[in-house]
């Protein structure tokens, strides 16, 4: 069947009390069984577009709605969400706020109860949906006991139980570690390929989009700026850069390697397999160079500022979160802590802040046992920026927010003023001093939190998952900031599972898994220790995987971390170029 299951005509939409149009003149047709990916920077209208598909926009949000949206032949204005929801399943970004039931089975049954499916049939459909997302046997578990990847698969199962024709997923993996991401993508792929379900997926994950989607649309400021197959879409490296999107690593590498389609290949590869194939076919003209990559030096002999010895921590409910971690961090280091969700990363750093007290073992900060500090004293030495800026903002002006700590620490009025001005200048937020923090964008709110921490002039800064839920531009901005602070002499610790963002910033890599420190090494060696990464359910960036796959054909040792470094080590012979 090639019938069109979604038909959007001249759709424009403006939220109530908003001046800007969220969507402008959207025209889009999606075929039954198609896998459509939607990409675009934050604020481009991706979520709004999703919500038009089951009528939440405009039924729930109100506002001005022009044009028409038709799903499975139903007009979204004439038909209520209750009806549309039975044809369009939705999965959202945050697993916490979309799961409401006390057991896994009840979660899946909830939509069925809403549409009055008889109990006997309900049991059958719940079992089937759970089997499809590979959660069979977990029926009686509490959704909170599941991992991130499992929670999102549960959300998919709940949507699936209604047997919809279209499944819409709005950034379902942005809060997941690489393994959770893989789990979700493989389920979505099966829905599409085996059950023929139509998929609309919003995602920043270029590599996965390139692998699975049939078509990609690029939304920018509420408009469709591009609609292409992924193969064509990711060729437009310039267009992507303009819209702050990141092409897959291998595409960037080949764009650098053979600008203008040199070497007889007319299109850059967009998936890892394609890239390996490309390398094989280019083999005769490929040249390899043994490059000594410039890495930031690990400052040996620097004063140790953070230290743990055989650290164990068990949560009151009996979960062993840390099982013997021994670690030293020297002044001025830039350390990345990576590992699966629940691997103990946040638990570890909370010990340095004395927010948690070791069950066993010892934690020292600047040579002194952490138990001798009050949390509020430690704050002068260690700044902690947690993932959600809104849990760290509690004042009604930016000025009060940034001076909050200084007042607590009883600095003089002049000192406070000077430090506030200084911190705001560093974050380029002077203009916002009188504003209410919550009236600013999410990116700026994060910067306010950083400014408020910087005002205390701590020598150590810990960032907990700073790039989660940020688009590529946002993530880069945060990492640039950590870099600046590092250059200013601060010790930086970043917790993340976005490995591809780290090259160029972090110098040292700590891999944590199941409460243990699996690996402690420099970033490059760490990225090439793929077995250790896999043990913690991480995958190395695409370039590392590519280098490893073509290593046997190269006469020299390949160790690139980025597309740029890849082209330093691998070039195309001049004669091969036209």
């Amino acid at each position: 069947m090639t019938e069109e299951i979604i038909v959007i005509k001249d759709l424009s939409y403006r939220y109530e009390r908003s001046e800007e149009m969220a969507l402008r003149e959207i025209n889009l047709r999606v075929k039954r069984g198609e896998f459509l990916a939607v990409m675009g920077p934050t604020g481009a209208g991706k979520t709004t577009l999703c919500l038009t598909l089951n009528g939440i926009v405009p039924h729930f949000y109100g506002g001005d709605f022009y044009g028409s949206v038709e799903v499975c032949g139903l007009d979204s204005v004439e038909h209520h969400t209750y009806e549309l929801a039975q044809r369009v399943g939705m999965v959202f970004e945050d697993p916490e706020t979309q799961l409401t039931a006390p057991t896994v089975a009840n979660e899946v049954a909830f939509p069925l109860e809403n549409v009055c499916v008889p109990a006997a049939e309900m049991h059958e459909r719940v079992a089937h949906a759970l089997e499809t997302v590979r959660l069979a046997g977990l029926d009686e578990k509490h959704p909170h006991q599941l991992s991130g990847g499992q929670k999102q698969r549960l959300a998919i199962a709940a949507a699936l139980a209604l047997r919809p024709s279209v499944m819409v997923l709005d950034e379902p993996t942005s809060q997941l570690d690489p393994v959770g991401t893989d789990e979700v993508f493989s389920v979505v792929r099966d829905l599409n390929r085996e059950l023929g379900m139509t998929i609309v997926l919003v995602s920043h994950a270029s590599e996965e989009v390139a692998e699975y989607a049939d078509r990609v649309i690029l939304l920018s400021k509420g408009e469709i700026a591009e609609a292409q197959t992924p193969q064509r879409f990711f060729q437009g490296v310039e267009l992507l850069t303009k819209h702050e999107l990141r092409p897959p690593d291998v595409t960037s590498a080949f764009a650098l390697l053979q600008p203008n389609g040199a070497g007889g290949i007319t299109e850059y590869p967009v998936t890892l397999d394609d890239a390996v194939r490309c390398c094989r076919s280019l083999k005769p003209s490929l040249r390899y160079r043994d490059v000594a990559h410039q890495d930031g030096e690990r400052k040996d002999g620097a004063k140790t500022v953070l230290q743990t010895r055989d650290l164990h921590y068990t949560y009151p409910d009996g979960t062993e979160a840390l099982r013997g971690v021994t670690l030293d961090v020297g002044a001025g280091e830039y350390v990345a802590i990576v590992g699966q969700n629940g691997g103990g990363k946040s638990t570890l750093v909370k010990h340095f802040l004395h927010l948690l007290t070791a069950t066993e073992g010892e934690v020292r900060v600047r040579g002194k046992n952490v138990n001798q500090y009050e949390v509020s004293d430690l704050a002068k030495h260690i700044g902690f920026i947690s993932q959600n800026p809104d849990n760290q903002i509690f004042s009604d002006t930016v000025e009060k927010e940034v001076s909050f700590a200084l007042k607590q620490l009883k600095y003089s009025k002049e000192e406070i003023e000077a430090r506030v001005t200084d911190a705001l200048r560093q974050m380029r937020l002077e203009w916002a001093i009188e504003r209410h923090p919550l009236s600013l964008s999410k990116g700026d709110r994060s910067r306010i939190v950083v400014a408020a921490i910087l005002a205390m002039k701590p020598e150590i800064l810990i960032f907990d998952e700073p790039t989660t839920g940020q688009d590529y531009a946002g993530s880069r901005a945060i990492l640039e900031l950590t870099q600046e602070l590092h250059e200013a002499g601060k010790t930086i610790i970043v917790i993340t599972h976005h490995l591809y963002l780290l090259p160029g910033y972090a110098e040292r890599l700590l891999v944590m898994g199941k409460g243990k420190l699996l690996l402690d090494t420099d970033l490059r060696s760490g990225f090439y220790a793929t077995e250790k990464l896999n043990e913690s359910f991480l995958t190395a960036p695409q370039i590392v995987q590519l280098a490893k796959m073509i290593q046997e054909e190269a006469p020299v040792r390949l160790r690139p971390l980025t597309a740029r470094e890849f082209t330093d080590a691998v070039t195309i012979k001049q004669e091969a170029l036209p």
Binding site: N54, I56, F60, H80, T81, Y82, A85, Q86, V88, G89, M90, F92, E96, T97, Q98, T100, P102, T103, A105, N106, A109, F110, P111, L112, E113, N114, V115, C116, V117, P118, A119, M122, H123, V126, A159, L162, P316, L355, E374, V375, S376, A379, K380, G383, F384, S386, D390, N391, Q392, I393, F394, S395, F404, A405, L406, Q408, L409, A452, I453, M456
Partner: protein
């Protein structure tokens, strides 16, 4: 952790297996009998029965202890005010010595007032124990189904269940906001009770905004699952609906106690104030 108040205990017990309607009846009795009776012995016995149930349900006794500790400052005030000023007060236990200016020789702590303070304490403590006893031993689904079968609109029952689910989330949010404040040099542990009040007040803004945003996301997620709040629906846990003989017996007993207590109080004066 702060979330214990609503965390389910999974240990099987006689009380845990009772039908949700029996438990709701117990909750109802616990919050009405305290007003029917004015007698410390009657209410003391009620508390005794509840504590037996708590032990039977294998609920962490530490929780009961914490609830009691939380109430101590309040009980102190009640004891002072009632003990000295309650109009029932006749028998002095202790009189303020003459040499104390203004009140000396006049003001006395009286036995009846002390008993009355105990009564108020019991009136607070009984429902305070009954609530976690029921909530912690009942599956939220059963609670919702039970409420609906008692002719309470599903929408209200559902709000109740979501609230129960969200309480731990909100507590964890409060914790993380407070951690953020401590990490900005706020030394809560060195502050007096009164200086802490504005700090707690400042928690409210991020908390309310966060909750409103969560509520909206939740609403969107629910509607996307064809939720319309309509009464017409089916239930996955249908079996939870059948009453066992022991449940029926307890419901009859409960209703007897309820009506019996009112009748005997009005006509026979059982359960009136004694000291």
């Amino acid at each position: 952790m702060t979330t214990t108040y609503v965390t389910r205990t999974d240990k099987p017990s006689f009380f845990g297996r009772l039908d949700v309607r029996v438990k709701l009846l117990i909750l109802f009795l616990a919050s009405t009998l305290i007003f029917v009776w004015q007698n410390v012995f009657y209410l003391g016995a009620t508390l005794g029965v509840l504590l037996l149930l708590v032990v039977n349900a294998k609920i962490d006794l530490g929780l009961i202890k914490r609830l009691f500790t939380l109430m101590i400052p309040f009980l102190g005030i009640v004891f002072f005010v009632q003990g000295f000023f309650n109009p029932y007060g006749v028998t002095p236990l202790f009189t303020v010595p003459q040499w104390v200016p203004l009140i000396g020789g006049d003001l006395a702590l009286k036995w009846e007032g002390v008993v009355y303070a105990g009564l108020i304490g019991l009136r607070l403590f009984i429902p305070l124990i009954a609530f976690p006893l029921v909530v912690m031993t009942t599956d939220v689904n059963d609670l919702v189904v039970g409420l609906v079968r008692l002719r309470i609109p599903f929408k209200i029952a559902f709000i109740f269940s979501v609230a129960l689910r969200f309480v731990p989330l909100i507590f964890s949010e409060i914790n993380s906001i407070m951690d953020a404040q401590r990490l900005r040099g706020l030394a809560l542990e060195k502050m007096s009770f009164f200086r802490r009040i504005p700090v707690f007040a400042s928690l409210l803004v991020p908390l309310i905004i966060g909750s409103l945003m969560k509520a909206q996301t939740l609403d969107v997620a629910l509607q996307s699952k064809a939720f319309s709040g309509s009464y017409e629906r089916t239930f996955y846990n249908e079996n939870a609906m059948r009453l066992k003989p022991v449940d029926v017996a307890l419901i009859i007993l409960g209703l007897l106690i309820f009506f019996g207590s009112i009748i005997t109080r009005i006509w026979l004066g059982w359960g009136s104030f004694v000291a």
